[in-house]
Symmetry: C2
Subunit: 198 residues, 2 copies
């Protein structure tokens, strides 16, 4: 369905509202009615854009996947140097520090809430995680080709370990409500990357 | 409330059933009625042991926290040598390999499903994560005192980074349905620990 500019704006307003409601109450605690109210639209308007809660959640996941790795930082350069990776880690930790004490609508929490039987939503999450892994992998590959990383480095494993550090650190930080777990996991991941410096 | 031996067995049967139902359907998709049926008991019996869904979920979390880091391995020795840590990582990866393709009722997924406003359940999860971190920290501290790790190592950061690697790797492995993310994150975490070898 091609949307007019106004339609795109309404759809975006719904997704923004849904993201905020989910951040506060979790997926299970969010009804279409909550989203409708938060977006300030009618039920039939909501239905026009998203005909089920699942369709809405899937669109939230796809939208969150477009936020490159650090919420609140929609634009991020290539992660293709030790300095750029450090800046990325610092930004993630800073974001967590400002968000400690309240929920955050991240792919991490969406993945945790995923019903094991909802195959379509799982595939959306897989795509989102794989997109993030490629952002990391592309940067590492550029470093590898430039000779910054030793020839024998396994780029798939390294980028996956970095993504896991981000996800695990975020999950623990959100639960424990302190940025320390994320700081620890990102420090460890970056030290691991640096251990492959040529 | 002190339980008789029979009462303890019934309570344990309910928790086992709840853990299995949650593994298949997630917390949101699990009703008390589902648990009652799976445990083969009456509604009044269930209510006798757990008077709300929240009470049941909290007990599941506390019980899962007693499973020391690798589900299916109720007994685990001290993680106080590089070999013991490697064996722990290998067991976690092997468990994930056998569980790929189906849900798992882990603290990782429970934490992800946590409603940001359920403060009591969040505290139970914090206790569980902190208990796991201490298991790791105690092992690392023994290695440190024995002189296996360099004096300047930050044991809090190191144990937290390992826990984050386990959680992040498990979350990605459960979503992507392959053990590779956990393998990558555990390899990275153990390499980081080894980088502090004296």
């Amino acid at each position: 369905m091609a949307l007019t500019r106004k339609g795109q704006a309404t759809r975006e307003r719904i997704l923004q509202a849904a993201t905020e409601v989910i951040a506060r109450h979790g997926v299970a605690g969010t009804s279409n009615e909550d989203v409708r109210k938060a977006a300030g639209i009618s039920g039939s308007q909501l239905y026009h854009y998203f005909d089920s809660k699942q369709a809405l959640i899937r669109a939230v996941i796809t939208r969150q996947a477009e936020v490159p790795l650090v919420p609140g930082q929609p634009i991020m350069g290539a992660l293709d140097s030790f300095d750029a990776l450090q800046a990325w880690a610092d930004a993630a930790i800073e974001h967590q520090e400002h968000n400690s004490g309240r929920g955050d609508c991240t792919l991490t929490s969406l993945a945790g809430e995923l019903s094991p039987t909802d195959e379509q939503t799982r595939e959306d999450l897989c795509n989102a995680f794989q997109r993030w892994q490629s952002l990391l992998r592309n940067g590492l590959q550029a470093m590898h080709e430039r000779g910054d990383l030793r020839p024998e480095v396994d780029l798939d494993e390294l980028s996956m370990a970095m993504l896991a550090a981000l996800q695990g650190g975020s999950l623990l930080s959100q639960t424990l409500r302190t940025a320390e777990p994320l700081r620890a996991s990102m420090n460890a991941a970056l030290a691991y990357v640096r251990s492959f410096a040529a």
